[in-house]
């Protein structure tokens, strides 16, 4: 998942960036509205965290311009004042949720997960497709009730595929959304990861949860289970 953070306070920005990276997110960060606006317009983001009180271009203006430019990724606003006037203004401008400073990182993560889930059309914290269940909160996978151990990269890949279950996702999209700019983007790595995921989720080769569409990408083909 690729997340942008626009926050002018260096300490807070760096802390949140580090914590999100720890959680396996690819994070871009900006210290001012203009840079943030540009990154949001150029990068394939899954979500953005925007502070309302930015020095040059206000957070609200940044969100407004993204929405005007047709950028649809979910936006979480950070506000120091906690006034409803600010919250309402931000949400009206196109933000999807708010968080009042100071906040616990846990809370920020939970809100981000929920927002990202919602864009994939999921309303619950646990994504279920057939026998496979992915708990976005605990970051755990179960296969028919049995816990499956995944590495951080495997988890990230599966989460992205399951969030967009049913749609074809190209390798480019996957690398763009899952990897940090400076990371190695060899597509072979992706193939290896998918192979490992298949072995772990489908040891008997009966389920075939991830199908490969030649030249187009991958698709998580198990039906979403209600709930």
């Amino acid at each position: 998942m690729r997340i942008l953070i626009i926050e002018d306070e260096t300490a807070l920005r760096e802390r949140v960036t580090a914590q999100l990276r720890e959680q396996g997110y690819a994070v871009d960060s900006a210290a001012d509205g203009r840079t943030g606006l540009y990154l949001g317009q150029e990068y394939p983001l899954d979500a953005a965290v925007v502070d309302l009180g930015l020095p040059d271009l206000s957070g609200i203006e940044v969100i407004r311009r993204w929405r005007a430019a047709g950028r649809k990724f979910p936006v979480l606003i950070l506000t120091a004042r906690g006034r409803w006037q600010d919250k309402v203004e931000g949400l009206e401008a196109g933000a999807d949720d708010y968080l009042v400073k100071p906040f616990y990182t846990e809370e920020l993560l939970a809100r981000l997960r929920a927002l990202i889930r919602r864009t994939g059309g999921w309303t619950q914290a646990v994504l279920r497709c057939g026998p496979i269940a992915l708990d976005t909160g605990a970051q755990q996978i179960t296969l028919s009730g049995q816990t499956v151990e995944l590495t951080a990269y495997e988890y990230k890949l599966l989460e992205y595929l399951m969030l967009h279950a049913g749609t074809v996702i190209s390798k480019t999209e996957l690398t763009e959304h899952l990897y940090q700019e400076d990371e190695d983007r060899d597509s072979n790595v992706l193939e290896v990861l998918v192979g490992r995921l298949r072995r772990k989720l489908d040891p008997n080769r009966a389920l075939n949860p991830i199908e490969t569409l030649r030249g187009r990408g991958y698709r998580f083909r198990l039906e979403r289970t209600a709930g």
Partner: protein, 457 residues
């Protein structure tokens, strides 16, 4: 031109000057015209008098007696002259007064009964009014001759008359101008006096010598003075609130600080210390949050325009629909389009936002926001109601919830602070009441009655 007094003075003076100038001009002209007409009439009468004295001698010539009824014709240089010409322009007679002078040549008048009147000059340059009258005279049986009689008078008298009139007129006009200007000055002084009083009183307020403007101002200024007083009172209330909030804030931060310091000094176990500090930081954060939100209340009631409630409730519900998209509660507003709120938009957002947010946290499926005006002892109150279908608030918990910064359920963030902030806003800024009850949906119903609405203030 930045003084009312100056503006009024200049405008009134210009109008006055124009009015009096035009009056003078038209009076002068009217007088001249009538004086001129009088001169013409007089000369005409002289002509008729001369005609009455005319005789015809044996040779059919025109003669006039030596002594004429008007003595001035006989006195040389008297200022009144006459002569007579035949149709060829030959002078047939002239008055003895015209000694050594000649009347100016006049454009010929050739039709009997015609009169001409003009200011002309005599041969020596004396300015004259000349009237010429042509008659057809029957000198013998069926024999007619044309004669032109001319009568002239110096312009001296006329000019003297006009000048003396002008002197009198300008004297009167100047006198009345002076009087009007003086009256105008007095009127200005008198009518601008309340403004000077306002200025003095405001200066006194600045200097701290008085609290507000006195009463008894004229009707036109009363909206200004009463609103100014309202603003002043509001400013004082604000100051009071800030002072209290600051005091509260400092006091309520002292306790967790004391606990933290104590822990730092005595606690040896790092885990325990961490826990204690964490608790106290959270407590301080809550306190700061609460005081911040309280401080955000503007309490701008005076001078506020009526604000329709429905669109603001809509904004809040739309925002909450986004925030609670996962649970997708049914959010409904039952507010007539005509329901208005007198106060600050931010305050209303704060009240409705906090109440509706709480309701969304606790509801099972639905939340309803209502607003309607209600009559209370003849005053109009605005009743705001937010209701949910959640578990409701037990009666014994209600007072606890309303107390500042306390949480009924620590697992749901923000509960309690929101209600306490709303209570402060409703009770301290809008002098209303906040009631916690049970609604028709079965859950909690929070009702805020706001005073100072419409004709209530």
């Amino acid at each position: 031109m930045n003084s009312l007094r100056g503006r009024l003075l200049i405008a009134a003076s210009v109008v006055l000057a124009a009015f009096l100038g035009l009056t003078g001009l038209s009076l002068d002209r009217a007088f001249r015209d009538s004086a001129l007409a009088a001169v013409e009439d007089r000369l005409q009468a002289q002509v008729y008098m001369l005609l009455g004295a005319v005789n015809v001698d044996a040779f059919n010539r025109l003669t006039l007696p030596q002594s004429l009824p008007e003595a001035r014709f006989s006195t040389p240089d008297s200022g009144l002259y006459a002569d007579a010409m035949d149709s060829q322009g030959n002078l047939v007679w002239h008055s003895p007064s015209l000694l050594g002078l000649a009347l100016p040549f006049f454009p010929a008048v050739r039709n009997p009964g015609d009169t001409q009147f003009a200011p002309l000059e005599a041969s020596d340059g004396t300015p004259l009014f000349v009237l010429a009258f042509t008659v057809s005279w029957e000198v013998a049986r069926n024999q007619y001759r044309l004669y032109t009689f001319r009568v002239a008078e110096t312009r001296q008298d006329f000019d003297d008359q006009v000048w003396s009139f002008r002197r009198g007129l300008s004297g009167w006009l100047l006198a009345s101008t002076g009087m009007l200007l003086a009256a105008q000055g007095l009127i200005l002084r008198w009518s601008l006096q309340p403004l000077r009083r306002v200025a003095t009183e405001i200066k006194d307020i600045e200097a701290g010598r008085r609290d507000e403007l006195s009463s008894g101002y004229p009707e036109e200024l009363r909206p200004l003075t009463t609103n100014l007083n309202a603003l002043l009172r509001q400013g004082r209330a604000h100051l009071e609130r800030y002072r209290n909030a600051l005091g509260d804030l400092a006091h309520s931060l002292k306790t967790p600080l004391a606990v933290a310091r104590g822990a730092l000094e005595t606690e040896a176990d790092p885990g325990e210390l961490r826990r204690t500090l964490g608790e106290q930081v959270e407590r301080m954060n809550r306190t700061v949050d609460y005081q911040l939100q309280r401080a955000a209340a503007s309490g701008r009631i005076a001078l506020s325009a009526p604000l329709p409630v429905a669109p603001i409730a809509r904004k809040i519900l739309d925002s909450l629909a986004k925030v609670y998209a996962d649970r997708a509660p049914r959010l409904r507003a039952e507010i007539a389009a005509t329901t208005v709120f007198y106060g600050d938009e931010g305050d209303l957002l704060e009240i409705l936002g906090n109440l509706a947010d709480n309701a969304c946290k606790w509801c099972r499926r639905q939340v309803v926001v209502r607003a309607h005006p209600a009559d209370h002892d003849g005053r109009v109150e605005l009743m705001l109601e937010v209701e949910d279908d959640g578990p409701g608030i037990p009666a014994d918990q209600a007072p606890l919830l309303l107390n500042r910064g306390q949480r009924a359920d620590p697992t749901v963030a923000g509960q309690g602070i929101g209600l306490a902030v709303v209570r402060d806003l409703v009770e301290e800024v809008y002098y209303g009441r906040l009631e916690i009850g049970r609604g028709v949906l079965g859950g909690a119903r929070i009702r805020a009655r706001l005073r100072f609405q419409a004709n209530g203030g």
